[in-house]
């Protein structure tokens, strides 16, 4: 069969620069339409340009290259558009927080409370909130980390049968508890026993949120420890509990630490339970077991909510946000660093 006349392999292709040309054309056209119709929002211009680009790409590509190629091009543009679209708010969030946060963030801000400063006035700081956050999160970790790790050890090393199935199931359920519900639970206890807000109540709610996360991540890590290691140790006559303590845990300690740190980072940003249970307090209260405290996320919310549009309060809210994000990010980065550094030892 002679195929010299019609090639079956040569699809007509648009030149490489065509997407840029179509993009340029649609932006130009969109601006023209925007000006002509007197549309003043640039969001609208952008949307018109995006629609023109997609319709244009499909039309031109379908004509020249065929429907399948046109669909492929549409998919490619949509995927790119989705990515760029999502980048805008996320970049804006980080950018705005840094730019506005840096304004009042200084040593004074970090070392003073709001004790004698009205919410609408400039001045003051987040010292009391940092103290509150550290104490509440620290106490929550002291409760949740051992319970979570031990539970995971039970599930992986001992648990078979109904009890472990029930625990696995309810850990799953617990993972899905909204933070405000955890807060309400402790609140119901406080109502029951007629207690006033205090820092440790917040810790308890945070611990409830943290436990399932720790159990899950620790479980994953323990499962990565090869069975041969356990058997080798047991075969030497080492009791099981010493095998777990001396062989299993040291092998997976990096991953477990990472999991705990990520869980800490997560609860450090929780606001809702703290709002219900710790209440907020402009003064420095170093005792988490008595009296209302503040915390960083709660401070941000109250600066925003209680100050009726005062610029000074917003500045403080941004600065506190920056502090909180920095804290959470550093925890995340260090945790991932540990995970990477310890990874080879888990045999992966």
């Amino acid at each position: 069969m002679s195929t010299a006349t019609v090639s079956t392999l040569k699809g007509a292709r648009l030149p490489k620069w065509s997407p840029y040309a179509i993009a340029g054309g649609s932006v130009g056209l969109a601006i023209a339409i925007g000006l002509a119709a007197g549309l003043d929002s640039r969001v609208q211009w952008g949307l018109i340009a995006a629609i023109l680009f997609i319709v244009g790409t499909y039309g031109i590509a379908a004509r020249v290259e065929g429907k399948r190629q046109a669909k492929d091009r549409i998919a490619t543009s949509l995927v790119w558009v989705a990515f760029l679209l999502a980048v805008i708010p996320l970049v804006s969030l980080v950018w705005v927080t840094v730019v506005r946060g840096i304004k009042v963030l200084d040593l004074y801000f970090l070392t003073h409370s709001m004790g004698v400063v009205a919410d609408t006035e400039p001045g003051g700081g987040i010292y009391h909130a940092i103290i509150g956050s550290l104490e509440q999160v620290g106490l929550a970790t002291l409760i949740a980390a051992p319970v979570g790790v031990l539970t995971a050890i039970y599930l992986v090393e001992y648990g078979r049968g109904k009890l472990s199935k029930a625990i696995t199931f309810f850990v799953d359920v617990m993972t899905g508890i909204p933070s405000i519900v955890a807060g309400l639970f402790i609140l119901s206890l406080m109502l029951q026993f007629e207690m006033q807000p205090f820092g440790f109540a917040g810790s308890l709610a945070l611990a409830i949120l943290m436990m399932p996360v720790v159990v899950r991540s620790t479980e994953e890590m323990l499962k990565l420890v090869p069975n041969e290691l356990r058997e080798a140790s047991l075969a030497l006559g080492v009791p099981k509990w010493r095998t777990i303590l001396k062989v299993v845990l040291p092998t997976s300690i990096g991953g477990i630490t990472t999991g705990i740190m990520l869980a800490v980072a997560r609860i450090a940003g929780e606001t809702a339970p703290v709002l219900l249970l710790v209440f907020g307090n402009p003064f420095i209260n170093t005792n988490p077991f008595e009296g209302a405290q503040s915390s960083l996320p709660l401070y941000i919310y109250q600066q925003y909510a209680n100050s009726a549009g005062s610029g000074a309060a917003y500045d403080r809210a941004w600065a506190a946000s920056l502090t909180l994000i920095a804290f959470v990010m550093i925890l995340n980065l260090v945790a991932r660093g540990i995970a990477r550094w310890k990874a080879p030892k888990t045999g992966r």
Partner: protein, 334 residues
């Protein structure tokens, strides 16, 4: 025969060998083993006790409030707990919670899936690693920061979009706008979408990355374009993973408190328009009303929290059921 066959070594699951079990049984008589087993089993039981306590106390406090409710707890469009004869119901909250979550999912899921595909199949390799890492970090940004950003930055930027939607889609009723501050369900939905985007993207990306290379090559060898490869091999493989990721996101959107409380200007009614301010969600209502609530009012809020808890449980349960069912069909791949 040659032996280039690839054998996947299964991950070292913690299945006990016979000897290990025997040893464990014998070992349990040592004091050290008994203490350690007791501690770890005790922790597990402690978790169960907490769950039981949550259920019991929430239900008890909720029943205190509901028994004195002079309205219908499920259908009343009011939240007046301070009255002599208190009247409150969750209809508005349930509606608002579901609407805002639907809006969030409708925006976030397609975009997140697209970004996940972008990272696994479109982006230059040098770019996709760092981007994925950054998105991972963004998932850790506290919700209150999203709330602050939403209230101070996003809300002012919504005016143009709202006007436009009202002009062209106002006739639907859903997108009509009377010109109030754009602190409405749509804004809330968009903010929630932005918040759950990183988590859905991350999980989906992980799933797409695990698409067996050989399935993608099979599609390519049939003469599929990149998009057709994705439709034939990548998406069917990743569907259950994307569903579970979405449910994870949905769970967050349903229970999100601070971002909604900062952005929404709540009213206690149901309206068709997504653009006019008003409505409320369970979590937002609790946070907003808590401050001035009496003890009885707090019990009523606990009752609404219990409903939220049940809804999130159902969503998570549904997600797990879907995944289990899909796994039977697509699992035989090894």
């Amino acid at each position: 025969m040659d032996t280039t066959q690839i054998t996947d070594t299964p991950p070292p699951a913690a299945q006990p060998t016979a000897t290990e079990q025997k040893r464990a049984a014998r070992g349990a008589t040592r004091p050290g083993d008994r203490i350690f087993l007791g501690l770890s089993r005790g922790s597990g039981i402690f978790l169960l006790v907490i769950m039981a306590a949550i259920a019991v106390f929430l239900t008890y406090r909720a029943s205190l409030a509901i028994s004195k409710d002079h309205g219908n707890f499920l259908t009343t469009f009011e939240w007046n707990t301070g009255l002599q004869e208190p009247v409150f119901g969750i209809a508005v909250l349930a509606f608002g919670t579901i609407v805002s979550s639907i809006v969030a999912m409708a925006i976030a899921v397609p975009v997140a899936v697209a970004i996940a595909l972008f990272l696994t199949h479109y982006a230059p390799r040098k770019l996709s690693g760092p981007i994925a890492y950054v998105i991972d970090l963004l998932a850790a940004v506290p919700s209150i920061v999203y709330g602050l950003w939403g209230a101070l930055i996003l809300v002012p930027h919504m005016n143009g979009l709202f006007g436009w939607l009202d002009d062209y889609l106002g006739w639907t009723g859903i997108f009509s706008w009377q010109g109030g501050a754009p602190r409405s369900m749509l804004t809330v939905g968009i903010l929630l979408a932005i918040m759950i985007l990183p988590i859905i993207t991350n999980v989906s990306r992980e799933v797409f990355r695990q698409t067996p290379r050989m399935n993608e090559e099979a599609a390519l060898a049939l003469g599929a374009t990149r998009w057709e490869v994705i439709r034939m091999a990548v998406i069917p493989f990743g569907r259950s993973g994307v569903i579970s990721a979405s449910m994870l996101g949905l769970g967050r959107a349903l229970g999100e408190t601070m971002a909604v409380a900062t952005v929404l200007s709540p009213t206690f009614d149901i309206q068709a328009s997504l653009l006019d301010p008003g409505g409320g969600t369970f979590a937002q209502n609790i946070a907003s009303k808590f401050g001035e609530a009496t003890e009885f009012g707090r019990d009523a809020l606990i009752a609404s929290g219990l409903v939220l808890f049940v809804i999130t449980l159902l969503v998570n349960g549904a997600a797990r059921a879907i995944i289990a069912r899909r796994a039977e069909y697509s699992g035989a791949n090894a």
